[in-house]
């Protein structure tokens, strides 16, 4: 994204489950001026919820001392959302990306988080390091509809 033409905001909050709702509403509120339809806005809220929940349950293993960071950027072409934790990291990213794979079946986790993020966004990248944390970068393009009209 070109500096000067983009808008951004950053959030830093405790890894507590009651903040999941706050996180997705805050991102949606920041993006409310963009030409996103209701379903697209719901998709963005869903992927924010997935990534924040992963940070809380898997990154910090529900240790509420941890912090989750969200950076959101947009310009006229796209929305970019980066969600980071300084938790335990992911040992096997390819395995974690598989639909229905979960390391915590006893918590009734569905194993669908990364699959949903991939499907609801145009780009989804995972950067992770054991003992250092995980960073999820997601992009949703805004120009699809305009290009179809032209």
């Amino acid at each position: 994204m070109e500096k000067g033409k983009m808008n951004f905001m950053e959030l830093n909050f405790a890894a507590r489950s009651e903040n999941e709702g706050f996180a997705r509403i805050a991102v949606a509120a920041f993006l409310s001026r963009l030409p996103l339809n209701l379903d697209e806005m719901e998709e963005i809220k869903t992927v924010v919820s997935e990534a924040v929940t992963n940070a809380i349950i898997h990154g910090y293993e529900e240790d509420e001392q941890g912090a989750v960071m969200i950076s959101t950027f947009y310009d006229q072409y796209a929305v970019e959302i980066v969600i980071e934790d300084h938790g335990i990291g992911i040992a096997d990213v390819e395995e974690a990306r598989q639909p229905l794979f979960t390391t915590k079946p006893e918590l009734e986790r569905s194993g669908m988080g990364f699959t949903i993020m991939e499907n609801f966004m145009d780009v989804m990248e995972i950067t992770t390091e054991i003992g250092r944390g995980t960073r999820i970068r997601m992009v949703k393009n805004l120009v699809k509809n305009e290009m179809l009209c032209n």
């Binding site: 997705r24 919820s49 997935e50 929940t53 009734e108 569905s110 609801f120």
Partner: protein
């Protein structure tokens, strides 16, 4: 940002109506309330109405699948009704529609379960 869980029994069917948002935070409440109701009563089938559910993520899929397993282990069935388009796609992606029946309305679902 909360979830209201309304439960009503009609015969051996437990109707569970969700109002609000179902995520990791609220899924624990739903899990414990439904688990208790299914274990403590002679409920055979579950009808889950999502008509007033405004938000759901994969934590919701997990708790719904958990209750599906619980009710089918007792020889019962689960039907989900009134799903909005974005939540519908979550069900589709997870393959949950292969095992859980879906109906447009509570009336249709009750009809399938042999009531009304």
């Amino acid at each position: 940002m909360s979830l209201r869980v309304d439960m009503e029994a009609i015969g051996d069917i437990l109707i569970v109506r969700l109002d609000g948002e179902l995520d990791h935070h609220t899924s624990e409440v739903l899990r414990s309330q439904m688990e208790g109701q299914i274990n403590d009563t002679d409920v055979r089938h579950v009808l889950l109405s999502l008509k007033n559910l405004h938000f759901m993520d994969s934590s919701g899929l997990g708790v719904i699948l958990g209750r599906y397993k619980q009710i089918t282990a007792r020889g019962g069935d689960m039907i989900v009704c009134s799903i909005n388009p974005v939540i519908y796609r979550l069900f589709e992606l997870s393959g949950l529609f292969k095992i859980i029946k879906v109906k447009d309305s509570e009336e249709e679902a009750l009809h399938i379960l042999g009531v009304a």
